[in-house]
Structure formats: structure tokens, C-alpha cells
């Protein structure tokens, strides 16, 4: 912006309107000052609407909610009318050991298993899909459309579709019947899949240490339940809906790997699988980090589907999530302090998990570049 002379020459080159010749020099200097102040005014005028919007509808309300989380506000009148109660909302949830702690523990258990199961599935599916559609072949565009299509539907529509597919006499159970499996009543089955698996290998009773010790009011045995059968339906739904979106990110990452690398490897005699493990995966590490982080953040925010399913976290609280619990405490029970505290705890969980993931993946990427190709 300061190099006026250069700009003028570019202008003439790009057919810009000719600059009047009269009083060229003084005019330019005068304009330069005006331009600067004009730009400052215009700059602020242009960003003012979004600054006000973000301030009024995001920053200020977050501060209000922070206050609510340390108050006993019951939903009537201004949030600032509640009394300060210190950290008692947080201690109720985290250390008190009562119903609130147990509910929070349960929601954390459910969401943790949701994350543990869904994030790897989504990531693997997305990478697989991206590999399928990454080569410019005929017909690949159609495949890409098909894989991405579930991502454009709303969660509400997806919930209806999945309740239809997974209802006790639904399409999935009909298909299972072909191979002589009688499917469960998916959406109302609170049994944990890990418990079911342990039961299948003969572990019916919880060992003593798992029933005697509890975390957040929940015995260890309950923590080890795995996602419930009902939660699995939401996991399938997320896998279908999110893998297409993340496929696009992997596609962008795959495009940045030069084909020369693969050719060199092929000449050295590396097979398809070796190429994938030794070249694609290491070079995709930054993309992988993006996908894992985004899917992790998304997987901790399970709310829409639980609300839409209309079971309030049922059956037996096994689809209750921290996000839904925060909503339900505030809006249904008028325990706004507790609800707001839960929301901030959830925020902390998301931040901590993202940091851990980032750290873990960064550690392994410090391997010298050359070592990644040749071993």
C-alpha cells in the first residue's frame, strides 16, 4: 500500500481507469493521508457489525454463564440476581458423590465410550473412502457424491431414519434374520456391549475390585460397560454422517503427496500395502491430526441426536451425554448453576483431550523425515 509508484504501473497494466494527469504529485500525497484515515474508519465500520454480534451474542453471554455457574440462579429475572455460591455447583457434580455426581459420571462414561468407538471408526472410514475416490478415474465423482450425501442431511432426519432402520422389526433386524441372528431391540436396549462381550466369554459377575471402587459415583464395573446397544445406533449414525465430511479433508491431504514418491517406492519394489503404511500414513500425519481433532471435538458434543430421539438420554441413562445433561439440568430442572458448570466442564474436557491428542501425535512425528521412507 505504501509503494504507490508500483501500484500505478500495475494499474495501467490491468486496464484500470486512467489516472487524470493534472496535479499528479500533490494529489497523490494528499490522497495518501486521506486514504489512510479513510481506511481506518472504513475498516472499523466494516468489522463493527460482526464485532458487535460476536460480542453481544457470544462473548458477553459466556461471561454471564460463567457467573451463573458460580451462582444459585433459578431461571427467573436477570441472571445477575442469583446469589454467589462459590464452587459448590462444581463440587456437587465432581466430588459430592450424590445423584448429581452419579448422573454426571454416567454421562461422562457414555460419551467417553462414544468417543472411543466412533472416532477410530470415522477416521478409518474417511481415510478408506478418500483412498477409493482419490485417483481420477471415470465414475469416481458419483462415488464421491454418494459417500458425501449423508453429510448434508440434518441430524433430526437422520434420527428418524435410524430409528426406522434399527427398530425391533426394522430393516437391520430383518437382514440379521437372514443369517439366523435375532437382533436386539436396539433403541431400547441399555446393555453395554463390552459387558455383553465379557458375558459371552463367561465373565458374568463383576470382580470385587470393580464393584467396590467407584469414580464419580459410578462403580468401575459400570465404567467398563462399553457403549450401550442403544448408543451403538448413534455411533453408526455418526459414522455414516461424518465420514463423508472427513473424507474431503483426507482427499486434500492425499493430493499433496507427490506421485513421484510412490513411483520411487514402486521401483524399489514396495507393494501397495507397504506403500500405504510407509508413505501414505506418515505423510498424512498433519491431515490425520486435523481429522482426529475435529472428530474428537465433534464427538464430545453429542446433543442434537439425543434431544431429537426424545428419550431424554434413555434407556436407563445410557445415551445421556454431558451436553444433554447440561441442557436438561438447566432447562428442565431450573438448576442453571449446575447446568452452566457442566457446560464449562465439558469445554475443559474437550480442550484437555485435544491437547493430549496433539501431544501424542506430535511426539511420533519427530522421527527424522528420511527415516519415514526407508527403513
Amino acid at each position: 500500500m505504501t509503494n504507490g509508484g508500483d501500484d500505478l504501473s500495475t494499474n495501467t497494466a490491468t486496464n484500470a481507469p486512467p489516472i487524470p494527469a493534472r496535479g499528479r504529485r500533490p494529489r497523490r500525497r494528499g490522497k495518501g493521508i486521506t486514504l489512510k484515515t479513510r481506511q481506518a474508519v472504513a475498516g472499523w465500520a466494516f468489522v463493527a457489525p460482526v464485532v458487535v454480534l460476536l460480542g453481544v451474542f457470544l462473548v458477553f453471554p459466556i461471561i454471564m454463564a460463567l457467573w451463573v455457574s458460580v451462582s444459585d440462579w433459578s431461571g427467573a429475572g436477570s441472571p445477575f440476581t442469583g446469589d454467589f455460591v462459590g464452587l459448590s455447583n462444581f463440587t456437587d457434580i465432581l466430588v459430592d458423590g450424590g445423584l448429581a455426581t452419579r448422573q454426571f459420571g454416567t454421562s461422562l462414561r457414555n460419551n467417553l465410550w462414544y468417543v472411543i468407538v466412533s472416532v477410530p471408526i470415522i477416521t478409518a472410514l474417511a481415510l478408506g473412502l478418500a483412498r477409493i475416490v482419490s485417483k481420477p478415474r471415470k465414475g469416481v465423482g458419483l462415488l464421491r457424491t454418494a459417500y458425501y450425501f449423508p453429510s448434508v442431511t440434518s441430524t433430526v432426519a437422520a434420527v428418524i431414519i435410524f430409528q426406522f432402520l434399527f427398530n425391533v422389526s426394522g430393516a437391520i433386524n430383518h437382514m440379521l434374520a437372514w443369517v439366523n441372528i435375532s437382533g436386539p431391540n436396539w433403541t431400547t436396549d441399555p446393555r453395554g456391549v463390552l459387558h455383553l462381550a465379557l458375558g459371552a466369554i463367561g465373565v458374568e459377575q463383576a470382580p470385587g475390585w470393580a464393584t467396590e471402587n467407584a469414580v464419580l459415583g459410578l462403580p468401575l464395573w459400570e465404567w467398563l460397560s462399553g457403549p450401550s446397544v442403544a448408543m451403538m445406533v448413534f455411533i453408526f449414525m455418526a459414522s455414516l454422517g461424518a465420514s463423508g465430511t472427513f473424507m474431503l479433508i483426507f482427499l486434500a491431504g492425499l493430493k499433496q503427496i507427490s506421485p513421484d514418491v510412490y513411483e520411487a517406492a514402486a521401483i524399489d519394489g514396495a507393494g501397495r500395502w507397504t506403500q500405504f503404511v510407509k508413505i501414505t500414513l506418515p505423510l498424512l500425519r498433519p491431515t490425520m491430526l486435523t481429522v482426529l481433532t475435529l472428530s474428537l471435538i465433534g464427538s464430545w458434543q453429542v446433543f442434537d441426536q439425543i434431544f431429537a430421539a426424545g428419550e431424554a438420554g434413555g434407556p436407563a441413562n445410557t445415551t445421556l451425554t454431558p451436553a444433554f445433561l447440561s441442557f436438561s439440568w438447566s432447562f428442565n430442572n431450573q438448576q442453571w448453576g449446575r447446568g452452566a458448570a457442566t457446560a464449562f466442564l465439558l469445554f475443559c474436557i474437550i480442550v484437555v483431550f485435544s491437547l493430549i491428542q496433539r501431544h501424542v501425535l506430535r511426539e511420533s512425528s519427530t522421527v527424522p523425515r528420511r527415516k519415514r521412507f526407508y527403513k
Binding site: 484500470a16 475498516g43 466494516f46 468489522v47 460476536l54 458477553f60 441472571p79 442431511t153 426406522f164
Partner: protein, 284 residues
């Protein structure tokens, strides 16, 4: 290098290729099957939807589900969705491109701070905002109003970034000519810059449309008047409504099908641009 490329394209049908296409098409069917079976389910009778969910051709055909929702809540919810989506989309496109342009091109004191603020806001997960949004909407007296449902959704940090990155990517010379010629910054923006930004504007329009059409959480906390409920909210109320879930599947599937049509149509029209944009948006 040339030799290998030629060799690869000339390769005749191999078993590997057959396996590839079989797997690829099977997965595609798995991704589309839920939608196909749901559309057909919407046209079945209650009994057939429950007893024979797999049949792709309804027998007999029935539009009872569609009739039921059209004669009650559906038209109103559709209207609400259209109103909210139109205003949110227009507002986002206008405000985001203004801000994006300023952040990319105009030098003003505090620009870095604004930028950092937007980045910080971008990292707040949406679910954490449920209670804060309710608090501000109620306190401003906007609860149960269209304004309360629309205005908070205009704050869209991701859209600002998309626009800023686009403006950074186009050459600066033309607009500078206009500026030096004495056009004010707004006139330059409106008459010179925006017409050049059509691709980014289309992208932003499509993303805002999909986002606000499919939004649910904000409508839950900003209104509870059924007359104001957009489709997502109204349909969610129907699912949770009790009354013997199984035999109402055609009705629910009819609602799910209809509400998916607008985003699906927009997706098919703009799919190339949308897919590239999603990549760009996330790469930031």
C-alpha cells in the same frame, strides 16, 4: 516417468480393478440405502412400514403420512424454516464479506486484535453456547421472536475466515485503482470487489443455507412457541411425541424426506464447489 504413466493407463482389466469397483459400489450402496429405504417407507401404509421395512416398492402406495403432516404443523414449520434460513443466509453473507474484506485488505488500528478475537471465538464448541445464548436472548427480550432465532446465528466466525481467505487470494490492483480514483471504501467494496467475489459468495451462501436449515440446538433455546418452530424443531417434537412410535413411521419418514429435499437439491447443484469449500474451510 512418462513410461510408467502410459503403462498404467493401458493396463487391461485386472482382478484388482474388479475388486476395487465391487467394494466401492457396495460401500456407496450402504451409504445411500438408508435414504432410499426411508423414502419408500414414507409412501407405505403404517402396517407395511412396520412389517416389511425392506421392500423398496410400497404396496399399496399410500400418501397418508404426507397428508397428515400437511394438514397440521408442516406448512407453518416450513414457513418458519424458510424465514429463518433466508435472513440468516443473507445476513451472514453480507456481514461476513464486509468483515472478511476489511480483515484482508483495509489497514486499521486493532485489526490484529479483532482477528485474534475471532480466532478465539471460533474455538468455542457450539454445545457450550446453549445456556449463554438462552441467557442473552431472554435478557434482550428476544425469547420467542424471529429476531432471537435469527440474530445470534448471524455471528459466524468461520464464514468471516472463508471470506478473508478468498479476498487474500485475489489480486489487489483493480480495487486500488478504484480507491485512488476517489471511490470510497464502501463503494469500492460494493461495486468492484463483491462482483469479483462471486465464487466465494456462492460458497458462503450454500454453507449458511445448509447450516441454518439444519440448525436445531439454537432453536431449542431461543423459542418454545410451537408456532415459531422451524422444521428441525417441529419434526423433533413429532419424534418425541410418544403415541405408539412404530405405527407412525410413514408420517415421520415423510417429514424426514421433505426436510432433506432443499439441502439435497442445493448440494447436487453446487456439489463441486461445496466439497472444495469444505476442504478450504477446515484447512484454515
Amino acid at each position: 516417468m512418462n513410461g510408467t504413466t502410459v503403462k498404467r493407463t493401458r493396463t487391461p482389466v485386472r482382478p484388482g480393478r474388479v475388486i476395487f469397483w465391487t467394494v466401492a459400489i457396495l460401500i456407496a450402496l450402504a451409504y445411500l440405502y438408508p435414504f432410499v429405504v426411508s423414502i419408500s417407507g414414507a409412501f407405505k401404509t403404517d402396517a407395511q412400514a412396520t412389517n416389511d421395512p425392506l421392500a423398496l416398492i410400497p404396496n399399496p402406495w399410500s400418501i397418508a403420512g404426507f397428508q397428515a403432516i400437511f394438514s397440521s404443523w408442516f406448512p407453518r414449520a416450513l414457513l418458519n424454516s424458510v424465514v429463518v434460513t433466508v435472513f440468516v443466509t443473507l445476513g451472514r453473507v453480507f456481514f461476513n464479506s464486509l468483515a472478511g474484506y476489511a480483515l484482508a485488505r483495509l489497514r486499521f488500528p486493532g485489526r490484529t486484535a479483532v482477528m485474534a478475537g475471532i480466532l478465539a471465538v471460533l474455538s468455542v464448541p457450539a454445545v457450550v453456547l446453549l445456556i449463554p445464548r438462552f441467557l442473552v436472548v431472554t435478557n434482550l427480550g428476544l425469547f420467542n421472536t424471529y429476531a432471537g432465532m435469527i440474530i445470534p446465528l448471524l455471528a459466524d466466525a468461520a464464514g468471516i475466515f472463508i471470506m478473508r481467505n478468498f479476498f487474500l487470494s485475489i489480486p489487489q490492483s483493480v480495487e486500488e485503482a478504484a480507491l485512488i480514483d476517489g471511490a470510497g471504501p464502501f463503494r469500492t467494496f460494493w461495486q468492484v470487489v463483491l462482483p469479483m467475489a462471486t465464487p466465494a459468495l456462492v460458497t458462503l451462501t450454500v454453507l449458511s443455507f445448509q447450516g441454518s436449515w439444519n440448525e436445531l440446538a439454537h432453536f431449542i433455546v431461543s423459542a418454545n412457541n410451537p408456532d415459531l418452530a422451524p422444521l428441525t424443531r417441529a419434526v423433533a417434537a413429532v419424534i418425541g411425541g410418544g403415541m405408539g412410535r412404530e405405527n407412525r413411521f410413514p408420517l415421520q419418514l415423510a417429514a424426514a424426506t421433505l426436510m432433506t429435499i432443499p439441502p439435497a437439491v442445493v448440494f447436487f447443484i453446487f456439489q463441486r464447489r461445496l466439497m472444495n469449500a469444505s476442504i478450504g474451510a477446515v484447512k484454515e
